[in-house]
């Protein structure tokens, strides 16, 4: 598989950081980096990772089926992850998640029809002091009220329509 120069460079740096004879320790970050570009862990991605790390497809399968942040189907352009673990739940995380479902018209692990948003109910993302917490791709948003959520969605829509490329 061909990746962008940026991703390829990232993969090369990753491989170089692995101890000799232990290529397989690059497995999880490599899957994440590739998923960032491709959008999902497709069968072609698995083949590619196997040949780069000299592991079997089953070994990749073990990892992909274990980690919920590795996806088989592409998420939206903006992947919204709402924490409903104890700390966030106590301050309205569950309500925020329900609000997000209604607002976007999708459920857990759903993707909006325009492919712009996807939603996921997640376990603790380590932002307990500032719950309810929301993660959009790699960015964190804290103390997210339903109103703040709506503003964020509008903001993201505007950002997107202002861009030429998705």
């Amino acid at each position: 598989m061909k990746f962008s120069d940026e991703t390829e460079a990232r993969l090369q740096r990753l491989m170089a950081s692995c101890p000799p004879g232990n290529k397989r320790s690059a497995l999880v970050p490599m899957l994440l980096f590739i998923q960032d570009e491709v959008g999902a862990i497709t069968p072609e991605v698995i083949q590619e990772v196997c040949s780069r790390l000299e592991v079997s497809p089953l070994e990749v399968e073990e990892v992909v089926s274990y980690y919920s942040m590795l996806r088989r189907k592409p998420a939206g352009r903006y992947h919204l992850q709402i924490c409903t673990n104890i700390s966030c739940m106590l301050v309205g995380g569950a309500e925020l998640f329900e609000h997000a479902c209604r607002k976007l018209g999708i459920g857990h692990q759903g993707v909006t029809e325009d492919g712009l948003f996807s939603l996921e109910e997640v376990e603790c993302i380590g932002a307990c002091c500032w719950g309810p917490a929301l993660q959009v791709n790699y960015d964190y948003y804290h103390n997210v009220t339903p109103e703040a959520f709506d503003r964020l969605i509008e903001q993201l829509r505007r950002n997107h329509s202002g861009r030429s490329e998705p």
Binding site: S56, P57, L58, E59, E61, E62, S65, Y66
Partner: protein, 690 residues
């Protein structure tokens, strides 16, 4: 020797080598700490939490399987706290377990049952609906029943580490975790069944045995596998005179827990519908059923006729019959029938090795040497396919002792993955490849050289001279194909060598010459199929003793139904020259052992009273065959003992030597009658695919 570590386990003092795990230290003093995931020889998992023990000055319970013994440690394995923890673990393991013990194959020999019996609570607090996944058929050999699985990872590890295959993994997480095969919905692997045998519960079951009977309904007979030359011990499960499974779960014998698909699942051939159960005599051009008396009388008259006319009699022996049968056959031929024409299908040049070693002691590697030698050289064989136990031993040696492995083969083999050096050579040029490694091999502390049929005749002498020139201790294994190929050679089923490779005065015809000879009066073929792949038949009166109507038997004049290795007592000699005991597991009506058939003919011909018993023949072998002067009582009791290179051994200068190049899924003619071998999708397989 490093200083021993002293610790106390359940009040008993124990001294162990540094690095010993507490679970192993406990076993030394007879304390069995329960465990599912811990398995000697495999990597540690620490997954099942059954081996929790209390250690003084440690705040929490510790897993004895990952805890290394340290000086002064005080371990208690059966305190109320430990028992409570184990009770909780058993309860946890049983949350989604179906408790279908009454119909489970493992019922009665299940480690989870044993644990539940020892520690389990009388009632379960779990009232939720159990998570169920339907059972899956991964191959004709392997079936997986997820709900029974306790995720101990033993199967995953034995496949990846022990077998070097890595066909199993664990997918998903938490309560949804399950073992997965390498091709999504099916397995492509060695189909050895190691995963099934090692499973502590009934999660992995075999297509051969599943739902046939309960374990305690069987008789268990420990014998030697009837297929390749590696001489694995297999314990046959016999139910109503039928072999319904093979395994080596007690880890006894040279092979420990190892068996390949042949040892575990090919043991059904004695019950094949095509099995011969009555003598056949050719009348009006057709083979027709006859009585033993009738068939033997006809053979007797033909042999008598040949003897009185002085017409040549040719005898082709077997790679599958016992040492006693082979020895008695060559004696009957040479001393009784006065014929020098004796041979068998030769698959490795053992004679040349014995001649080159010239009685030197300690130069033949044992199966254990392959596990312990510091360095091993494999030349001209795909061990994982052709000699899977050797491959297993070398792999274990590399894992446990970092053995240095050298490979000289025509194509990729499994050993390449951990070899210190792999050399690819043109077929037939293996010796040159070996000689080219001289500089590297000289640096090793010791070496075992394993060589196949491509190094034969004078090349073996050159190989041994090369070994001598290295200046280090070198041992050898000359590879041969079948269960008693080695014994057939050792017992002198050769045209120019008698028992113990002693030259005979008048060399006879080779196998090929016998088949092509126009003057033979009688050609007697015992447990061999020399006419497979050939057209026509020799003009001689053709007598065949075999299990099935093979290509050779089909054109015979008389066919005598013989008993297989699983239906007789005796000894066979493995590829490493280790003599092991066969034990009868079943009897097939209408057949006779080859030894009995020889005896009946000898008596009819007035040559000999026939062998009194197989033990009597073994005693004669021990007394007369050079290299076989072993303690007979120990052999009879079942101890594997290695033969010695005989003094005065000579090379065979007549006849061809060629390995049949069987894979894991083929085994000459016999392999065709083992149904499981043909059913798996990997069959027939190929050599040198890595």
């Amino acid at each position: 020797m490093p200083e021993l570590i002293r610790l106390t386990i359940d009040g008993r003092d124990v001294e162990v080598e540094p690095g010993t795990l507490v679970i192993e230290a406990a076993r030394r003093v007879g304390v069995k700490i329960p465990s599912f995931c811990y398995y000697e020889g495999l990597s540690l998992a620490g997954a099942c939490r059954m081996c929790l023990v209390e250690v003084e000055k440690m705040p929490k319970l510790q897993t004895a399987c990952t805890l290394v013994a340290t000086p002064g440690m005080v371990v208690r394995t059966e305190t109320p706290q430990v028992i409570e923890a184990r009770r909780a673990m058993v309860e946890f393991l049983l949350t989604n377990h179906p408790l279908d013990c009454p119909v489970c194959d493992k019922g009665g020999e299940c480690e989870l049952q044993d644990m539940a019996f020892r520690y389990g609570a009388a009632e379960s607090r779990y009232v939720e609906t159990k998570y169920h996944v339907p059972e899956a058929r991964w191959s004709p050999v392997v079936y997986y029943d997820r709900p029974r699985c306790i995720l101990c990872y033993r199967c995953v590890r034995v496949c990846a580490e022990g077998m070097g295959v890595g066909a199993l993994g664990v997918i998903n997480r938490g309560g949804r975790s399950e073992i997965a095969p390498n091709y999504g919905d099916h397995l492509e692997c060695d189909e050895c069944g190691a995963c099934i045998d090692i499973c502590p519960v009934g999660a992995l079951t075999s297509g051969m045995y599943r739902y046939h009977t309960r374990p305690w309904e069987m008789n268990h007979v420990g014998t030697v596998c009837a297929f390749c030359s590696n001489g694995c011990k297999t314990t046959l499960g016999v139910y109503h005179n039928e072999i319904i499974r093979g395994n080596n779960r007690d880890r006894s014998g040279r092979n420990g827990e190892f068996l390949c698909i042949k040892g575990r699942y090919a043991a059904d051939f004695p019950h094949h519908p095509d099995r011969l159960r009555t003598p056949l005599v050719r009348r009006d051009g057709e083979l027709r059923a006859a009585s033993w008396a009738e068939a033997l009388a006809l053979v007797e008259s033909r042999l008598r006729d040949a003897l009185t006319r002085g017409a040549p009699i040719g005898i082709i022996g077997s790679n599958h019959t016992t040492n006693e049968e082979n020895y008695y056959l060559q004696k009957l031929a040479r001393q009784g029938l006065k014929t020098p024409h004796l041979d068998h299908q030769r698959t490795g040049d053992v004679a040349a090795l014995m001649a080159a070693l010239a009685g030197r002691q300690g130069a033949l590697a044992t199966m254990n040497d392959l596990y312990e030698a510091r360095a091993i050289l494999v030349a001209g064989a795909d061990l994982a396919q052709q000699h899977p136990l050797l491959s297993w031993q070398i792999r274990a040696n590399w894992r446990h002792h970092q053995a240095r492995v050298y490979v000289v083969t025509e194509g990729p083999v499994r050993e390449d993955r951990y070899a210190a050096r792999s050399l690819r050579v043109e077929p037939g040029r293996e010796l040159e490849g070996v000689l080219a490694l001289g500089e590297e091999l000289r640096k090793e502390a010791e070496l075992v050289i394993v060589f196949g049929d491509s190094i034969q005749g004078e090349a073996v002498a050159r190989l041994v001279a090369f070994g001598d020139s290295l200046g280090i201790p070198v041992k050898y294994v000359c590879l041969v194909d079948y269960a008693n190929s080695r014994g057939a050679s050792d017992m002198g089923l050769l045209p120019d060598l008698g028992p113990g490779y002693q030259p005979v005065e008048t060399p006879g015809m080779t196998l090929r010459e016998m088949l092509e000879c126009g003057d033979l009066a009688v050609l007697w073929v015992v447990g061999a199929n020399p006419l497979a792949g050939r057209s026509g038949r020799p003009p001689a009166f053709l007598l065949v003793q075999d299990l099935f109507l093979t290509e050779t038997a089909r054109v015979a004049d008389v066919v005598l139904p013989a008993a297989s290795a699983y239906e007789k007592e005796g000894t066979v000699t493995s590829v490493c020259g280790e003599v092991q005991r066969l034990r009868r597991a079943v009897s097939v009506e209408g057949t006779k052992t080859d030894l009995e058939i020889f005896g009946l003919l000898a008596r009819r011909l007035g040559l000999d009273a026939g062998p009194r018993s197989w033990e009597a023949v073994l005693r004669e072998i021990a007394a007369t065959v050079p290299g076989y002067d072993l303690p007979v009582e120990a052999l009879i009791a079942g101890a594997p003992l290695q033969v010695r290179p005989p003094a005065g051994a000579a090379m065979s200068r007549r006849g061809a030597i060629r390995s049949a190049r069987n894979t894991l899924f083929t085994s000459g003619t016999l392999g065709r009658y083992a149904r499981m071998l043909g059913q798996v999708r990997e069959a027939p397989g190929a050599l040198y695919r890595g």
